[in-house]
């Protein structure tokens, strides 16, 4: 049996539900620019009357509906999409960082300017060629020494820059490690809160937003992957090692690398058992790849070049004769056989440059003889076994080409991954982002429904007024 009080209740429920809808719309509008926000919507359902408790049982047609209520607050997200998005974003960040650090190497090497290694090498040969044409000329001799010095300096500088660049990454690593640790902690505590809210059958929508953002960032940093459990908690792992499980998180730290080849360079380990921290993409992977694979490789190439330069040039130089007729000594210091340490021999001075070949009569001084300088010039065109049967210039050119190709590859990969990531990001945004027009329409809709419910309540008020104040006036 319909009752007036039940009718008022229906109107009241309608008013309450619509005003909650309006509030949620407000929340959406307020967060139109909030990063990581997923739009929400009040999910309205028709209330079903409780037949056993109602009076209408058996009297009239039934069942009559009992109005509206907000069933749950829906959060628009593409959960299944997040894994893919995060794996692409991890790769993107990895390439981005690789291309960034590699570009730094490229710009410090400045191979295309006159300050490049190849022009310095050219200049070195050129000064020998000039000396060969005029072996008694002191200016030419001084120039050979100067240009050889510049070549050494350039090799020193390149090696130094690579070493410094490796060490420079320590600070970045430390920052990223701190960030991962604090994100892991916050994911663990969000896990706790989310499972509690879900436990009382509510929707922790804004907490989920926060946690998703943390997970996004963890994927960007180190390629962290997560899986959601029935109670709403996530398990996060990086490179096969658990980072967060339930309400607990593990932490990582940086420490000086014990390997003597990596002195001055930090490595990342798990704090608990000091086992190695492996990344699976992300900024850290990019940094570590360049730092621990590419830079040592480049350094080895430079060192090989320096070593062969010292050996080959010294070999020829020691066969020659100086301006005073004495036998040629070392040109480069034989102890400096790395790119970092290559330097001219201390005993070298302009008159001690062995430009002359062996004299026809032993003991005679042939100052106009430049046979040895010619041999040195010929070294330029010689294929060196230690340089993979390439000439010095070819080896140097190959080194530059390899670096350039690596940088280009990293840049291209970074760009391509960014495009894919943008597309994925747009799809995500398309589902979860706020459209103001839509909110305006929803607002108008809820507002009208609210007004209508209020009118209904008004009608009941009038009915009650009729019943209470107007009825039963007979005999008064």
């Amino acid at each position: 049996m319909p009752t007036l009080s039940a009718g008022i209740n229906i109107a009241l429920q309608a008013i309450l539900s619509q005003s909650q809808s309006i509030e949620i719309t407000e929340h959406n509008v307020a967060n139109v620019d909030t990063k990581g926000y997923h739009r929400q919507k009040a999910s309205l359902v028709a209330r079903v009357s409780n037949p056993s408790a109602s009076y209408d049982l058996g009297y009239n047609a039934g069942q009559m509906g009992a109005g509206v209520s907000v069933d749950r607050i829906q959060r628009f997200s593409l959960d299944f999409f997040d894994g893919r998005y995060r794996s692409v974003s991890a790769d993107t960040k990895s390439w981005e960082y690789q291309s960034e650090i590699l570009s730094q190497i490229e710009s410090t090497f400045s191979d295309l300017t006159d300050d490049g290694l190849s022009p310095k090498l050219d200049q070195f040969w050129l000064s020998w060629q000039n000396l060969a044409s005029d072996p008694t000329n002191t200016t030419m001799r001084t120039e050979v020494m100067n240009d050889a010095g510049f070549l050494c300096e350039k090799l020193n500088r390149n090696a130094q820059q690579l070493i410094v660049l490796r060490q420079d990454q320590n600070l970045t690593l430390e920052n990223r490690v701190d960030e991962i640790n604090s994100l892991a902690k916050s994911v663990a505590s969000l896990n706790a809160e989310i499972s509690r809210v879900i436990g009382v059958n509510q929707q922790p929508n804004d907490l989920l937003d926060k946690r998703d953002m943390a997970l996004d960032r963890l994927a960007e940093l180190a390629g962290a992957v997560s899986s959601t459990q029935a109670n709403g908690e996530v398990i996060v792992s990086i490179g096969g090692h658990v980072l967060v499980t339930g309400h607990d998180s593990l932490s990582i730290k940086t420490e000086p690398d014990p390997d003597p080849a990596n002195s001055g360079v930090d490595r990342i380990v798990w704090e608990k058992d000091s086992s190695e921290f492996n990344t699976n993409g992300g900024e850290l992977e990019g940094i570590l790849k360049v730092r621990d694979e590419y830079i040592p490789h480049q350094l080895a190439i430079l060192n090989n070049m320096a070593k062969n330069l010292v050996t080959e040039v010294n070999k020829i130089h020691s066969q020659g004769y100086c301006l005073d007729g004495s036998k040629g000594g070392d040109f480069f210091d034989p102890d400096g056989v790395t790119a970092l340490e290559i330097r001219l021999s201390d005993s070298l001075e302009p008159s001690k440059i062995a430009a002359a070949g062996a004299p026809a009569v032993v003991g005679e001084v042939e100052v106009g003889n430049s046979e040895n300088a010619e041999l040195m010039v010929a070294l330029r065109h010689q294929k060196i076994a230690g340089l993979k049967d390439q000439t010095f210039n070819e080896y140097c050119n190959g080194m530059m080409s390899e670096l350039a190709t690596t940088v280009k590859q990293a840049k291209d990969n970074s760009t391509q991954h960014t495009i894919v990531l943008q597309a994925l990001s747009e799809q995500r945004e398309s589902v979860s982002g706020v459209v103001l027009d839509e909110e305006a329409a929803n607002l108008a809709k809820s507002q009208k429904a609210y007004q209508a419910a209020a009118r209904v309540m008004n009608a009941y008020d009038e009915l009650l007024d009729l019943v209470i104040n107007q009825m039963g006036l007979v005999g008064r």
Binding site: A356, K408, S430, G433, V434, L436, A440
Partner: protein, 294 residues
């Protein structure tokens, strides 16, 4: 697809970013006059450019050498020419000395004295130097080629050895003329002739005449040889210059910005930028439904 407000804003920013990057690249190309700024912009061409620059540097070295040698040889040629003149003059003097109308006194005071001066001159020329290097001293370029210890003794002080220089990867040239072989016979013949004239020894004079003739032939031969080498050098310099021009033009094609092309590209990019800004401002300031509901 739902187009959200954030997507619209992000896209506008993205478009502006893209076109600005393009404009920046074009501006860099114009300002630096180079098509690419780092090797990674174009690894293949960069590597090729380095090779071309190396070739230019090699060629520069050979040209420096060739120019130095060329000057050295001109000096040699001039010296040999003067020596030939001396030899010819001396030949004529000795001829006059053979003439019966000339008496002993004239032979001694006039002709022998004249020859004596010529000897001094010939030794001076034999000791001529180019940029501090004695050109006829073989590889002992730091010391005079000839020493006259007394008026009858001429000693060659140099070390006879060819000074071979590279003027190309596989092209070598000998730059010096051996003073011992070329000039010493002349001086010796001059000394001999002077002594015969001074002593009025006409019977031996014809032998001197022959010696002078041989010396002159020697000088001429050396001069011819030197001339041949000079031509070789000149050819080689002109070839190198030609190939340098070719290399430079390839290099320029590879790495230099075509200014006209770059400017027209820039102009079109700028108008795209204008359009992007225009559309962006419309997108961002577009009204939404809230503006119409009351």
């Amino acid at each position: 697809m739902r187009i959200t407000n954030q997507m619209m804003v992000n896209n506008v920013i993205q478009y502006i970013d893209d076109i600005k990057n393009k404009i920046n690249t074009t501006q860099e190309q114009i300002a630096s006059t180079k098509k690419f700024q780092t090797p990674s912009d174009d690894p293949t061409t960069s590597s090729m450019c380095l090779q071309l620059k190396s070739s230019l540097s090699i060629s520069e070295g050979y040209q420096n050498t060739a120019n130095i040698i060329s000057d050295w040889m001109s000096t040699t040629d001039f010296s040999l020419e003067q020596l030939s003149e001396i030899a010819t003059k001396a030949y004529n003097i000795v001829l006059r000395g053979l003439n019966d109308t000339v008496d002993a006194d004239e032979r001694k005071s006039s002709l022998a004295t004249e020859l004596n001066e010529m000897i001094k001159k010939a030794v001076d020329i034999g000791n001529s130097s180019f940029q501090g290097n004695y050109i006829f001293a073989g590889v002992r370029v730091d010391q005079p080629a000839f020493i006259m210890s007394d008026e009858n003794t001429i000693t060659y002080n140099g070390i006879s050895k060819e000074m071979v220089r590279s003027i190309g990867q596989n092209s070598k040239v000998t730059m010096n003329i051996d003073g011992n072989e070329t000039i010493k016979p002349l001086i010796q013949a001059l000394i001999e002739a002077r002594n015969y004239l001074a002593n009025n020894d006409t019977s031996n004079l014809p032998g001197s005449l022959d010696n002078l003739k041989t010396a002159l032939e020697m000088l001429t031969a050396s001069r011819t040889e030197n001339g041949t080498r000079m031509r070789q050098i000149e050819n080689s310099i002109s070839n190198m210059e030609k190939s340098d021009i070719a290399i430079r033009s390839i290099l320029s094609k590879k790495e230099d910005t075509s200014i006209a092309e770059a400017y027209s590209l820039l102009a079109s990019q700028e108008s795209t930028y204008q359009a992007v800004l225009e559309i962006g401002s419309r997108t961002l300031s577009a009204l939404n439904l809230f503006d119409y509901l009351n």
